[in-house]
């Protein structure tokens, strides 16, 4: 009773504050305020889901392994892709030529031809490795081209909207309906002479097919990226935080860079991942037709094409490049679908 009296009697209509509210929090109450889980950003959430996807992770590992082989092995490999050896033509895998056998008999060590040799006596393994390198480079560079142009075009079109958007999207519609592979072929036929006469060693080494692939990617392939980015930007534009940013006087460039592009990341990653296999397909297709890289640079397509002449006797000359292109495209496809599952907000569980 005396205890009760010490406390002030609370009048419901008084403004007097309740002292109980100002007591120090107990340890138990404090514990409730501690964040048990760190906050998860969209990127981290997506990465977590990607890591859980075993197929996608295995594909990523395969791609990294192939890339490692393609870019590191040539630095210390004992054979080069151009060196011809007349005495060692069309050897089967792990077979030695007479000259090499004599060398081994003398006690010298000879590095085995893991995949045999081709019709000109060139080591096949290193040629397949170089071909793989070309495929990977085409895939990566085309993705870069598509990302840069697609984002620029799509975000400008989506941000400004109205007439600008309408005209820019009409252009995209027209480009979208052009048959791309035909134009690549046409262009590579047209610039073949120019490329082989070119003073620039890089262009001459790349070959007409590669140069025209990159030109065509730059001209045509970014349209689906631009469309998706534009769609995304159009919906982000209506958000309040963009309005707030505009109200404090941020420039369009800043708004695009700071608010819109980060929100387009998932779309960008998905489209870029899907672009890579189709770029690799196109390059190998052109090389198979003889329009790709310049001789003697090998490409998986040109290796498969060359293998046709001796197909009956040396089927492995087809199997190795065919297998490696299959492996590359398969891994990129599986990784791409894994990325789509991880980054597509519509599929979020």
């Amino acid at each position: 009773m005396s205890e009760e009296n010490k406390k002030l009697k609370k009048n419901p209509f008084s403004l007097q504050v309740d002292p109980a509210l100002f007591e120090a929090a107990s340890d138990e109450e404090k514990a409730q305020q501690v964040t048990m889980r760190e906050s998860v950003s969209f990127m981290r959430d997506a990465m977590r889901r990607l890591r859980k996807n075993h197929i996608a992770m295995i594909s990523l590992c395969v791609i990294l392994l192939i890339a490692l082989i393609a870019f590191v092995v040539p630095t210390f490999y004992p054979y080069t892709y151009t060196k011809q050896d007349v005495s060692a033509q069309n050897l089967a895998p792990f077979q030695y030529s007479a000259k090499e056998q004599a060398k081994i008999a003398r006690g010298q060590s000879v590095f085995p031809h893991i995949m045999g040799t081709d019709a000109l006596g060139r080591d096949y393994a290193i040629r397949v490795i170089y071909g793989t390198r070309i495929s990977l480079l085409v895939g990566i560079f085309s993705a870069l081209i598509v990302i840069v142009i697609g984002i620029l075009y799509g975000s400008i079109s989506g941000y400004f909207g109205g007439k600008v958007d309408m005209i820019m999207m009409r252009i995209v519609d027209i480009i979208y309906s052009l048959p791309d592979v035909l134009i690549v072929i046409l262009l590579s036929v047209a610039i073949k002479d120019w490329v082989s006469a070119s003073k620039s060693t890089l262009i001459a080494r790349l070959g007409a097919g590669m140069v025209s692939i990159f030109i065509v990617f730059g001209l045509l392939y970014w349209v689906s990226m631009a469309r998706q980015v534009r769609g995304q930007i159009l919906s982000i534009k209506e958000q309040e935080y963009v309005l707030a940013s505009k109200a404090i006087g941020a420039s369009p460039a800043r708004i695009i860079r700071k608010h819109m592009i980060p929100n387009c990341v998932s779309v960008i990653i998905i489209i870029a991942a899907m672009q890579i296999p189709s770029a690799i397909f196109t390059e190998s297709f052109l090389s198979f037709l003889g329009l790709g890289v310049s001789i003697p640079m090998p490409s998986l397509g040109s290796l498969a094409s060359d293998a046709r002449t001796g197909l009956r006797s040396y089927p492995y000359q087809l199997i190795f490049p065919a297998l490696s292109i299959f492996l590359i495209v398969l891994s990129f496809n599986l990784l791409g679908s894994g990325l789509r599952d991880a980054f597509d907000p519509k599929l979020r569980a």
């Binding site: 519609d173 027209i174 309906s177 052009l178 048959p179 592979v181 035909l182 134009i183 072929i185 046409l186 262009l187 036929v189 047209a190 002479d193 120019w194 296999p277 397909f281 190998s284 297709f285 198979f288 037709l289 003889g290 329009l291 397509g301 498969a304 094409s305 293998a307 046709r308 197909l311 009956r312 089927p315 087809l318 065919a322 292109i325 299959f326 495209v329 398969l330 496809n333 599986l334």
Partner: protein, 308 residues
């Protein structure tokens, strides 16, 4: 068939015509940007002979005039004279090659769509079961294989190793392997499309209603679901056409079929510019028209789609 649909049809048709015009323009100007004359690569000729040849093929006039002339003659079905197969007109060669390519391509397309729809539906109905998994693995593998890999592997296994089928297109049954190699990739693609669209449709309310009414499974699938699952497949018709036409370039070379694709690659080897231009324009027109048809069909089949 209301006014809205008609205006969409006209708009889409104009778009297709504009695209075809653009392809012709691109083809023409790209080929004319090449400094070399088509006659310079051949054996040494006197200037007078070259001038006479250029006059005969109309290469002596200014480029814009040549373009207008070219456009005018294309409208009359005249793609000029071939320089690689002397004495033939481009259009005759194209028609001759196309009769083979159309046969292969059409059969391959039909096979791809029919089998793709069947496999895709089966996979969707068996979702998560062994058959679905097998179909998914096989289709994933098939869409990761370029046409030339597929064709050469088929040639190696079925023609050279097993000897079941001929390796040359002009032999009896020689078109079987080219058709199979062209149809596998689109078939796998259609299967995947059909599987996801079937799963989508099977989850819809009207399917549940039909089931609740006691309609049998087969009737639900054929009468209610199948029709509505076909829209994504229709949109793929255009890209499939593009795949089959470009794929025929390698496949016809591998199996020695005298079709349009092989003609095209040969005309590149012979630097027959008129031929390259003619075939490019012809193939591009086919692809653009197919895209146009599939776009229109898509709207006809699914009236819910907004016509804007």
């Amino acid at each position: 068939m209301n006014a809205k649909f008609l205006s969409y049809l006209i708009k889409r048709l104009l778009m297709a015509l504009l695209t075809i015009f653009l392809v012709i323009a691109i083809t023409f100007f790209v080929m004319h940007a090449i400094p070399a004359s088509p006659f310079s690569s051949e054996k040494a000729k006197s200037d007078a002979v070259i001038a006479a040849l250029e006059a005969k093929y109309g290469f002596d006039k200014p480029v814009p005039i040549q373009f207008l002339n070219y456009l005018w003659s294309i409208l009359h079905g005249d793609f000029g004279l071939s320089t690689g197969w002397v004495g033939n007109t481009v259009i005759d060669l194209i028609i001759g090659g196309f009769s083979y390519s159309a046969r292969i391509g059409f059969t391959a397309g039909i096979i791809a769509i029919v089998l793709g729809v069947i496999f895709g539906s089966v996979a969707a109905l068996q979702r998560g079961k062994a058959l679905d998994k097998i179909i998914q693995i096989v289709t994933t593998a098939l869409v990761s294989m370029p046409s030339f890999v597929m064709a050469t592997l088929l040639l190696l296994v079925f023609a050279l190793q097993l000897g079941w089928l001929p390796s040359m297109g002009n032999q009896e049954g020689g078109l079987v392997l080219p058709i199979i190699s062209l149809s596998l990739y689109p078939m796998a693609y259609v299967t995947r499309l059909q599987r996801s669209s079937m799963l989508d449709v099977l989850g819809q309310d009207y399917i549940r209603t039909a089931r609740a009414k006691g309609v049998s499974d087969w009737k639900v699938i054929f009468k209610h679901a199948l029709k509505n699952t076909l829209t994504p497949v229709i949109t793929y018709a255009g890209p499939m056409m593009a795949y089959i036409l470009t794929g025929s370039m390698v496949v016809e070379n591998i199996f020695s079929v005298p079709g349009l694709g092989r003609l095209f690659t040969n005309s590149m080897l012979r630097t027959d510019y008129m031929m390259i231009m003619g075939v490019t324009i012809f193939l591009a027109t086919m692809i653009i028209l197919m895209n146009f048809i599939s776009d229109i069909l898509y709207k006809v089949v699914d009236p819910r789609i907004d016509l804007t």
